[in-house]
Amino acid sequence: MLLTIHNLQVRYGSQLALQIDCPISIHEGERIGIIGSNGAGKTTLVKSILGLTSYKGSIRTNLKPEQIAAHMQSNHYAATMPVKTIMETILDTNIRKNRELQELISYFEFEKCLHKRYSHLSGGQKQRFTIIMVMLQNAPLTFYDEVTSGLDFETRQKLMEKLVNWYQNKSNTLCIVSHYYEELEMLAEKILILDQGKVIAFGEKKELFRKYCGRSVFITDSTKQNQELLREYKKLKSPEHLLAIACPDLETEHKISELLLQENVNFKRSDNDIEIMSTNAKAAYYEREGSAYEDQIMQ
């Protein structure tokens, strides 16, 4: 076991930013996606683990703070300094003599940026710059906190593909914080859902999906015609413009797909849609807690 969190509580002034009651353990080699809306406590959790914020409770680990690598949202360096100088200083290496680093630089197509000043890099280049340095750390535990926020769709896709491919055969434990569900679908095996500083659910992605959605889901546009067509099937909570239907077994799946095909309705079938899963996990959590999910969304 790499790290265990027990009874964690973080407050900013009088405001409770994060509360984790049940123990959360991170094991070697795991790929954990941390998801939640703004103010859910994602970055607070990362900062607590990194020892950058004070907290009550315990985070037990044999790792020293220096053995945990992190790409945080704040991504600044000395603006007037050449990128190459910053990189060689931070990594304490010479690019010309470090093959692994050269490989990473070329993997991320960063060669031309090395002689620019940091302030002259674009948003995507800045992210790639830090990612290269974080990857070279080869830390047992690495955090990526919203690495793609602020980037356009194409740059985001490319960056995530590079990340996925790079870590494919490696043993590093990764914790990826993201707003974008599709990124976590690509990278994460386990999901931690946070909301308003509380843990909504934590577990294997597949198990959580089965628990909150069933075997699979069919997602279509939420039109009157589709609602009428699928009225006899179990509806899941979903974003307003979508209609999500739960399939508990293969038979139901066949029936629904045939029906949709017959009626020429566009649909998506998924057994790992994190957006629908987290929406329903939240709904179930607040139902258990005795407050309506809609009330929590409004807050």
Binding site: A69, A78, T80, I86, N138
Partner: protein
Amino acid sequence: MRGKGAPMKTKSCNKRLIIYEIRNAIGNPFIAFFGIVFPVMMLMIITFSLRKQVPSSMVREANTGVFITMSLIIPMAVILLGHSANYSQELEKEIPVRMQLFGFSQNSIMLAKIIAQTITLTAGLIFYSVFSYILVDLQSPKLSSALCLIGCLYVMGICFFLFAHGLSNIFKKFGPTYTISMFVYFGSMILCGMMGIQTEQLPKALRRVASFLPMSYVSSDFIDFWQGGSYNFGPMIQAFLFFGALCGLLVVYSNYKNRRVIK
């Protein structure tokens, strides 16, 4: 099958980090102007006006007195103002946190900055001394007096560094840090005779405050033994101990406050 990664190393203060910090310090226009150009400029202006005010036989001594006093501006501007401006801006952008996340400890970063600032201070002092002796008529010092002044300037530099570093670490913002540094800078200049008013001319309460600042002893007393003679260093050493302890406590507290702990 996933490959096992090599453990990450903790980085200590090294040559690369020091060179980086020197470039970082020199790239700051506050340091270049206030620490290197400004003292020479002030020396030129004040000694020019002194020519008309003092008898010609006293000009060299008066010039030398101004030279000694203006030399105090260098550690104050390079380190007190320069480092507080630079470091507080870095903290505001969370750059030191990034460095820590890449394995540099707070102490390694601080040590590299101290060495870089010392090198910048040395460059500033050399520039100031060379230009002053070329452009202004000055007395040659006794070696021990010159070494004494240089030693005092470096010790002051260390005190100013601790003060600026601690202050920046506590506020983590450029605005309040720089305001306090400027207040201390101009306050010290007024109290220690760098703004044309001698310490003896100040009201009793301000003279008492000035007695806690080592700069006031350098400014008013060093000219008396510049070319030889004896001097009672006791009060100045006490001032250094008091000022140094204050600055040291500030940095120890700020480093403790900002330490990374995983419980």
